[in-house]
């Protein structure tokens, strides 16, 4: 894989932008900071949205203004000032690259190490990429190939224009606009995101992918993803996120909704390496995400996530197993280093008969970080023969970090079978010694052991992502052993 630099992205953006002319008429724009009804109307107007959506946003805003920020998560941070954020920012047509110049060389190095290249990915692995830079989708590739199969894959703003019926019918059905504080905020101000529809019986021939970046300082990223898999269809969706180094904390409050109809399958993989803050715990992204999927009869939703970035992560990808025989899966690796904090896990709500869920969560904490698993397994009285298996393992590196487990298990049906186990351990000195003895230095040895620890989850990632994720693990743990 050839090395990818910011320049490549710049070039790509320039060309893509003109190719699709997605917002040729827009002047520039970062909205002035602050949030009120006018700002929401302005966002809506800017995006030329139908009236129902404007009303929907305003509804959400109304509810949001009465909500309180949740405090139950096991994370400590300075609450963002929601009036100090600009809620809309699109790269300027005339000078789209201005903000890319002051990119931290450390980040460039990271890019290089990862070998991320949107172009590469596209060419080599047949991945269609929907690039989201600062909330606005600037490039969507492979649209044509997909269109032949009847697959819709576009930005959510396009979808609102071109497929309003689908959007109207499904948006907010899995994550109601009033679901929680951040979901409500997102519903009010979301600027872009991805939309994907797989028609009946179609197996999506390639991995669909979105790449998110946060460029502008002081902007929040509020994207919204809606994936609909119609009956008997299949799709694998990848989501990758990066943010350049920024001093102040940046807010990221996304909403992802998955709908898997009868016999459909959705595989949703995330690799998240938002800027985690400096080694002194300064800056970094706040990642407050609501992800949820609903399974109809015989459907399956599988969440796979590799979380290495963000100063604060607050994320619980969930499955509502509504249909009989539906399956929910959650595979997660969460790595925290330095002053990072992660409170992540899943919810498996068993409503239908013979529903199954599997939870595998691996937490790795190093430095002064705090890593929590928080999960819910709920078996409703109607869910005959529901089955759940959960396993959460934590690996501690160094004695200043913490690992926490908060599982909630609620069973209301006698035929339910639930297993939950959790362990906490550290890397054995004998393991490291064994590696050293065979000429593997300590840093490499740790990477090796961590990889082994995470294998069960890494195996679930699509191949291209697995390679990247492995490297990411190495990078995030760099310097964590002295």
């Amino acid at each position: 894989m050839s090395k990818y630099t910011e320049d490549d992205l710049k070039k790509e953006l320039e060309t893509k932008e003109y190719e699709y002319g997605f917002y040729t008429d827009i002047e520039s724009d970062t909205f002035p900071i602050g949030l009120n009804e006018d700002v929401i109307r302005a966002i809506s107007a800017k995006k030329d949205e139908p009236e129902w959506l404007t009303a929907w946003r305003l509804d959400a805003f109304k509810v949001w203004s009465e909500m309180e920020e949740p405090e139950w998560a096991n994370v400590k941070y300075e609450k963002p000032d929601f009036q100090a954020i600009s809620y809309y920012s699109a790269p300027k047509k005339s000078d789209p690259n201005k903000t890319l110049d002051d990119v931290d060389p450390e980040l460039l190095a990271t890019f290089e190490k990862l070998g991320i290249s949107l172009d590469e990915q596209k060419k080599l692995s047949g991945v269609a990429v929907d690039v989201v830079v600062d909330s606005v989708s600037v490039a969507t590739t492979f649209k044509k190939t997909l269109a032949e199969k009847g697959i819709i894959f576009c930005s959510i703003s396009e979808a609102v224009k071109d497929y309003p019926d689908l959007v109207k019918k499904y948006m907010g059905t899995v994550v109601p606009k009033t679901d929680n504080f951040y979901a409500a905020l997102n519903s009010a101000v979301f600027t872009d995101g991805s939309f994907c529809y797989i028609p009946k019986g179609v197996r999506c021939p390639m991995e669909l992918s979105t790449y998110f970046r946060i460029n502008q300082g002081g902007t929040g990223q509020f994207e919204r993803t809606l994936v609909i898999a119609d009956k008997s269809s299949y799709v694998s969706y990848l989501e990758g996120c990066t943010a350049p180094s920024r001093d102040e904390n940046q807010l990221h409050a996304a909403v992802v909704e998955l709908i898997a109809m009868d016999d459909a399958e959705i595989k949703y993989s995330t690799v998240q390496n938002w800027f985690p803050g400096s080694a002194e715990g300064k800056g970094g992204v706040f990642n407050f995400v609501t992800k949820r999927g609903i399974c109809e009869k015989n459907a399956k939703i599988s969440w796979t996530q590799v979380e290495t970035g963000s100063a604060v992560t607050w994320k619980y990808p969930s499955c509502i197993l509504k249909g009989d025989n539906s399956v929910g899966e959650f595979y997660s690796i969460a790595v925290t280093n330095n002053y990072q904090q992660a409170d992540t896990g899943t919810k498996m709500i068993h409503l239908g008969k013979n529903t199954k869920s599997t939870i595998i969560s691996k937490g790795i904490s190093a430095g002064k970080s705090q890593n929590s698993y928080r999960g819910l397994v709920q078996i409703s009285p109607r869910a005959e023969h529901a089955r759940n298996f959960s396993q959460c393992d934590s690996l501690l590196m160094g004695n200043e970090c913490g690992a926490h487990t908060f599982p909630y298990i609620e069973a209301k049906n006698k035929s339910a079978q639930i297993e939950h186990e959790a362990t906490t351990s550290k890397i054995g000195e004998d393991q490291i010694f064994y590696c050293n003895q065979r000429g593997i230095d300590t840093e490499k040895a740790i990477a090796l052991i961590v990889n082994g620890f995470s294998k069960e989850v890494l195996n679930k990632l699509p191949m291209e992502f697995a390679v990247e994720a492995q490297k990411l693990l190495e990078i995030s743990l760099e310097g964590s052993v002295g």
Binding site: N399, G402, T405, A411, N413, E419, H420
Partner: protein
């Protein structure tokens, strides 16, 4: 008038019945203020998410029993462990019953909290330990404010109690609804050893609500075994707050057997303040009807090289609800900690509910901590096997349940007590098993 207001306003009346000159007076006054501030816990509190006290608190409880009721020994004989020689501290409606009890001051003290709080010769111990181990929340504060009677057990250094101590609370139903608040203090000094069996029993269908607080201090190398039998009638609710502080190389175990009661909540807290400590928390819960049992445990590991073992088994039938909310905290300096937590449940009915929340909070890296939780059913093929051997279904099921709870039952060290618990379980399951388990 709501119970909270009633309790706050009745405090002055209560003060007239106790000695306000003693040092405990200040503790009481502070406690009632704390209670006024915290009040009763609600479902909004994370630790009370699955247990609501509303149903219990709406009763109009009488706080001070108006008359004393005497009970004949033969009426309540079955609630004692007869074939076992024990010291006994017996309370009837919160009042000490001297003719049912057998206490001692020989070598060590097994007596009354009311004496300990008022008499000078206990002052040295009470000043050091009383109300220092319990963590103050609304319910503990309420108990502290009204603390007057309970068991006081003090073992000086290098003494092993020669026989177990039974603490039994009877409520006679002399009042339509009665609130009882026993307060126990158990101090086991270095190298000493004691076994305690505690039981709460209602003798009528009237409502009883017990809010009990027990403070336990275990010195270096001390050994403590505490058995709690909770097999009350369905109109009796119990909140048992037990706080244990342990020092170097002490071993403390609390075994809870919950077979009845309307709402039972066990708040079990262990604080380890030394090295080489072992804390053991075991429980067997077998419920039917509409009973609700909530085990809420907290083990704090604050120093290196300690262990804790938690093993809770539950079998739930009819509309019963079982809650397990366990938490292990391992401090940063508590390296080489081994902490284990296991919660296994069997659901026998579609209306029964199990809510389990086994939590770990770990700040040290060189530790072995694990928890496991399962919810399932009895193995049908094992049951079939038993049937083919001529064991009827009911007995077969009972056998499998015994096997399921066996780990915990095995930890009971007194044979007579073990037989008693086995009998209780057999009664509960409606079988008579003609061999010794």
């Amino acid at each position: 008038m709501e119970l909270k207001e009633k309790l706050v306003s009745s405090f002055l009346a209560f003060e007239t019945t106790v000695d306000t000159a003693s040092g405990v007076h200040n503790i009481r006054t502070q406690a009632i203020k704390d209670f006024e501030l915290y009040g009763f816990p609600t479902k909004k509190a994370e630790a009370w998410k699955y247990t609501s006290l509303n149903k219990v608190l709406k009763n109009d409880f009488s706080l001070f029993p108006k008359k004393e009721v005497a009970i004949e020994y033969k009426e309540v004989k079955k609630y004692f462990i007869n074939d076992l020689d024990t010291y006994k501290i017996v309370f009837i409606d919160g009042k000490y019953s001297s003719h049912l009890s057998s206490t001692t001051h020989d070598k060590f003290d097994v007596c009354l909290m009311s004496s300990a709080l008022t008499q000078n010769r206990f002052k040295a111990v009470v000043d050091v330990y009383y109300n220092t181990i319990a963590k103050q929340d609304g319910l503990v504060a309420l108990n502290t404010a009204y603390a007057k009677e309970g068991a006081y057990i003090y073992l000086p250094k290098n003494i092993a109690a020669d026989k177990p101590i039974e603490i039994v609370h009877f409520s006679t139903g002399a009042e339509a609804a009665m609130l009882l608040q026993p307060r126990n203090l158990i101090v086991v000094e270095d190298n000493s050893e004691v076994t305690i069996i505690e039981r709460h029993q209602s003798l009528s269908e009237n409502k009883t609500f017990t809010n009990s607080v027990t403070e336990i201090y275990a010195g270096k190398n001390a050994h403590l075994d505490y058995y709690k039998i909770q097999n009350d009638i369905s109109n009796a609710s119990l909140i048992d707050n037990t706080f244990t502080e342990q020092h170097d190389h002490s071993v403390a175990s609390v075994h809870t057997f919950s077979f009845g009661g309307e709402i039972t909540r066990n708040n079990l807290n262990f604080k380890q303040k030394g090295q080489g400590i072992d804390s053991i928390l075991n429980g067997v819960t077998i419920l039917e009807g509409k009973t609700h049992v909530d085990h809420n445990t907290l083990v704090e590991h604050t120093e290196p090289n300690c262990e804790s073992h938690q093993d809770y088994k539950g079998i739930f039938d009819d509309k019963s609800v079982g809650v397990f909310n366990g938490k292990i905290i391992v401090d940063q300096i508590a390296q080489k900690t081994n902490a284990f937590q296991s919660n296994n449940n069997v659901l026998l009915s579609d209306k029964a509910t199990v809510n389990s929340k086994p939590q770990l909070e770990i700040f040290a890296d060189d530790v072995k901590c694990s928890h496991g939780c399962t919810i399932g059913q009895l193995d049908e093929s094992a049951l079939f096997y038993l049937k083919t051997r001529g064991i009827p279904e009911k007995e077969g099921r009972a056998l499998l349940m015994y096997a399921f709870a066996n780990n915990v039952l095995d930890s009971v060290k007194i044979p007579q007590l073990k037989t008693r618990i086995n009998t209780l379980i057999a009664e509960k399951l409606g079988v008579s098993i003609g061999f010794d388990l």
